[in-house]
Amino acid sequence: MTEWRIEPTDAYERAHKHYEKKQPQELKAVLDNLDRYFKTVAQGVHPQFVVAGYIHDEGKGIRAIDQRGGAKGELRQTRLYVYPDVDAKVLYLITIGDKNSQREDVKQSADFVVKLKGA
């Protein structure tokens, strides 16, 4: 049986490095929630049944994981956009953004999924 894997896009890698320098606490909190989500999926729960305050549906199977509960203190709203490919058992990390970039991030994520499915 194949195990789930995490695959970051180039855009995610760039965003990761940016957040690591500029907003490390927010990145740490988002990664903690990513760990929470990934462990649940990797243990056999279908991604659509992972429901909690830190995760939101963005359409087309895309989910946004935020910073809530991931760390103590006041953190700026930060969202990591992911797409779980159930057949391939790959969780794609598309990008990270904040409230200001939300519209662009959702569009970028949707374009990614369209391209992935068309490939």
């Binding site: 195990e3 894997r5 995490i6 695959e7 970051p8 890698e13 990761h16 490095k17 690591e20 320098k21 490390p24 990145l27 740490k28 990664l31 903690d32 990513l34 760990d35 929470r36 990934f38 462990k39 649940t40 990797a42 243990q43 056999g44 729960v45 049944f49 992972v50 429901v51 909690a52 305050g53 509960g69 991931g70 760390a71 790959v90 990390l93």
Partner: protein, 189 residues
């Protein structure tokens, strides 16, 4: 081929540049494994935080806190509440730190044997149960060797070449379980 990671800790280690951030972030995600496990159980039972809160008789806020709490701040009460809400019995156990994976496999094999023997004892009292127990033994006889074979077949081809070439004994029986581990198993049983 694109980079892939088997878990979030590997992702952090592989992508982050700052050593302090790496260390901090990996430590941070490893401090709340129990809450993450409870969240997994809830999702496995297809319940929302609100639904499990209603079953337990608490607020959704408490569920959210439990699932994101550090391991050392959770209480037995939290586990009992989740168990009751999900129809699960709480079991607490200790394991010898020296136990290796092979010892774990052997431990579970002994446990299988113990429960099979118990079934056989019960079967002696009733024909219908005897038939059911026999069916279960046949099912296990088919499935357990298959599990072992499936695992073995994931080994690289070179492992099998050693058997074919005669450079490895065809049948290898590993040594007996370590005395302290065996004593531990017996104590558990």
């Amino acid at each position: 081929m694109a980079k892939q990671f088997k878990n979030v800790a590997d992702l952090i280690t592989g992508l982050s540049e700052d050593e302090n951030f790496k260390k901090d972030a990996v430590k941070h995600i490893s401090e709340n494994g129990l809450g993450k496990f409870l969240a997994f159980l809830r999702c496995e039972h297809r319940l929302t935080q609100k639904e499990i809160a209603d079953k337990i008789g608490c607020t959704q806020g408490r569920i959210s806190k439990i699932e994101s709490a550090k391991d050392d701040s959770l209480s037995i009460r939290d586990f009992v509440d989740y168990g009751n809400a999900l129809g699960l019995e709480l079991e607490i156990g200790f394991r010898n730190k020296k136990m290796r994976w092979v010892d774990m496999v052997k431990y579970h094999a002994f446990q299988m044997q113990k429960y099979l023997n118990r079934m056989v004892e019960v079967a002696k009292q009733d024909n219908a149960i005897e038939s059911g127990v026999l069916d279960f033994h046949l099912e296990a006889l088919k499935n357990v060797p298959r599990m072992i074979l499936d695992s073995m077949l994931k080994l690289p081809q070179s492992s099998f070449n050693k058997i074919v070439n005669g450079s490895k004994e065809k049948i290898h029986i590993s040594g007996p379980i370590q005395p302290d581990v065996k004593a531990n198993n017996e104590a558990v049983a």
